[in-house]
């Protein structure tokens, strides 16, 4: 009897100790899977996730990504993460449908899925991405304020976008246009450059000949075109744009673009990591969509 009691005591003690140890050492295993490894955008998502993991503690974090953007390789990465014992995956889905089967398998293995940057057509804990309509509105407000600051309250404004079918740029344009409703400004017919910065330059030059007071570029190529057109014309036209690239930043530094809307990939990683941990702990998540917003990059804050 006494012997049994002692054995039991030891067992209980041991298990409790072991349980404690397990909680400390293994914690949660969380993987980040992006479209590829090279883009600075993904490097920043990784930095954000890393930061949150360090702050929260007890998390084994790993960034897995194919060397190039490829659906099959992304599926492989998801399978590898599941096989590696992931508790949660932060995923930037290549496309809406390519990886859904792999996600289904992951979820049935008990893995929590959080989308960062871009979602797939499969239910997940939360999507953390840029709300392009809101971002377009931010660009509109920047332009409006700059024009008002110059004492301009009416005039024509030109918009250059990629094409009429890309969801993100269409949303940006919609947000931008909405900002100017009820103001004295007239927004001209949108021109599409197919992502070609040289064509965007021609369109921007045409707009300037038409006497616009402001120009908006909805993506990288369009923005470079806007900046180059303003640089050549040397006129007082205010240009705002989207995305962050070497050329765009140099056009801002030279004063030919007022500002550009840069996404916040670090916020996606940071907040995505927090969401994943909350989901694993069974805590409340909040809205299914988290707008990570845009940063307005100007000459002053570069």
């Amino acid at each position: 009897m006494k012997k049994i009691a002692i054995v039991l005591c030891v067992l209980v003690l041991a298990t409790s100790l072991f349980a404690q140890g397990a909680k400390e050492a293994s914690g949660y295993k969380i993987y980040l899977i992006t479209m590829d490894q090279m883009d600075q955008h993904w490097v920043n998502v990784d930095k954000g996730a890393q930061k949150a993991a360090t702050e929260l503690g007890g998390i084994t974090y790993k960034w897995l990504a194919p060397d190039v953007k490829d659906d099959a390789k992304q599926i492989e990465s998801i399978n590898n993460a599941v096989a590696g014992g992931a508790n949660a995956i932060l995923l930037a889905a290549n496309g809406p449908n390519a990886v859904t089967a792999a996600l289904k398998e992951a979820e049935s293995a008990g893995v929590k899925i959080v989308y960062v940057d871009s979602a797939a057509n499969y239910p997940a804990v939360q999507t953390l991405a840029t709300d392009n309509t809101a971002a377009g509105a931010t660009a509109g407000k920047e332009l409006l304020n700059a024009l008002k600051g110059n004492g301009v309250t009416s005039g024509k404004i030109g918009i250059i976008s990629v094409n009429s079918a890309t969801a993100s740029t269409v949303a940006r344009e919609a947000g931008f246009r909405k900002t100017f409703e009820g103001t004295g400004f007239q927004l001209l017919e949108t021109q599409y450059c197919d992502g070609d910065a040289a064509r965007a330059k021609d369109m921007g030059a045409n707009f300037i000949t038409q006497g616009v007071v402001g120009l908006f570029g909805a993506n990288e190529g369009s923005t470079v075109g806007v900046g180059n057109a303003i640089a050549e014309a040397g006129k007082k036209v205010v240009g705002v744009g989207f995305d962050k690239s070497d050329m765009i930043l140099s056009l801002i530094k030279s004063g030919n673009l007022l500002c550009t809307m840069a996404q916040n990939p670090d916020v996606m990683g940071y907040e995505g990591m927090k969401t994943a941990v909350r989901a694993l702990k069974g805590e409340a998540i909040g809205a299914a969509y988290f707008d990570t917003g845009v940063s307005v990059l100007t000459k002053a804050n570069l």
Binding site: V68, K69, A198, T209, D246
Partner: protein, 337 residues
């Protein structure tokens, strides 16, 4: 071709294929005046110089496509070669290469694509549509791989001379891009109309078997046409990278079709053997005036696409009608003079 001496107007009218060129020239003037009345800014000197500079690249790729169409083939790789040229040149410059070295290397790469096109079509006897569809995707792939699937960084201050030479600079009051197009047009028009190579290009387009039997080297003539096409596309790619100050992977998207449109509107026959390079200039100008003018008119892009499509179809219809009623037309033309 009859050679009537004396009256210069008669001599011009005697040139084969001049009918459509004259018709579209009138069309171009009408279009220009209509757009100008709709929006007087269209007539401003600032817009005219911008417009000419916007037309120049279309003239260049139009020259290339016209050469190939005259041989009775087609070149679908033009747009991708523009993109490839833009990316190769910009990538080299961002990596610190001397701009002029980059220009030479880029043009050699483009000529290689042209030679590949020519050999696939003439030597391997692939249908030109398929052969150049293949090189189109290959060249676009090279454009993407040039900088690891990204648009390049800025080509920087060191390349300002390059940017001015191809796009931003002016010579005798005209943008350099316009001069480049004019000089290349002059050279290639001379080759096409005044040299044996040019006559061979027309000959294989009219009747490839007859040409072969009369001793024309079909492979060589086809190669020359495709290499001209690749060369001018390469030049347009350089203009594109000078314009943007960076390399864009999407540069030149669907330019091959713009080039077909410019050629066809200008009276180059898609069946080969016929057409004047001057017509291509008019065709490219109509294309450019429409793009520019409809933007000024505030027309939605969809409407513009429809208008341009209709004009392309009408020009080809015109070509068919003119050909079928040729004898009648020539008599009328002569009596009108």
């Amino acid at each position: 071709m009859s050679r009537e001496q004396g009256n210069p107007i008669k001599r011009i009218l005697a040139v084969r294929g001049i009918g459509q060129v004259l018709t579209v020239t009138v069309g171009l003037i009408v279009l220009y005046v209509v757009f100008g009345i709709m929006n007087p800014v269209f007539f401003s000197s600032r817009n005219i110089s911008n417009l000419l500079r916007q037309i120049a690249p279309i003239i260049l790729i139009g020259i290339g496509q016209s050469y190939v169409l005259i041989t009775g083939n087609i070149d679908l790789s033009i747009g991708s070669v523009v993109g490839m040229s833009c990316m190769i040149s910009a990538t080299m410059m961002t990596k610190g290469a001397n701009p002029w070295v980059a220009v030479i290397v880029t043009l050699i790469c483009c000529l290689a694509v042209g030679l590949a096109n020519g050999l696939l079509v003439s030597f391997a006897k692939l249908p030109p549509f398929i052969a150049t569809l293949g090189t189109m995707t290959i060249a676009r792939g090279i454009a993407q791989i040039a900088n690891n699937n990204y648009n390049t960084d800025s080509i920087g201050e060191a390349a300002q001379g390059f940017r001015d030479f191809f796009y931003y600079g002016k010579t005798f009051g005209l943008f350099n891009t316009i001069w480049i197009a004019a000089v290349l047009w002059f050279i290639f028009n001379f080759i096409l109309t005044r040299t044996r190579s040019g006559r061979h290009i027309y000959a294989i387009g009219s009747n490839v078997e007859a040409a072969r039997l009369s001793g024309v080297n079909v492979i060589s003539a086809t190669n020359k046409a495709y290499m001209v096409s690749a060369f001018v596309s390469g030049v347009v790619g350089l203009i594109t990278s000078a314009t943007s100050g960076m390399g864009t992977m999407d540069a030149g998207n669907s330019y091959e079709l713009y080039a077909v449109a410019a050629s066809v509107i200008g009276g180059i026959s898609t069946l080969g053997g016929q057409g004047l390079l001057f017509g291509t200039v008019i065709g490219a100008s109509i294309w450019g005036v429409l793009q520019n003018g409809l933007q000024f008119a505030g027309a939605p892009v969809a409407i513009r696409n429809i208008v341009i499509g209709v004009i392309v179809v009408v020009s080809v219809l015109l070509d068919v009608i003119v050909r079928s009623g040729k004898g009648l037309r020539r008599k009328r033309g002569a009596s009108a003079v």
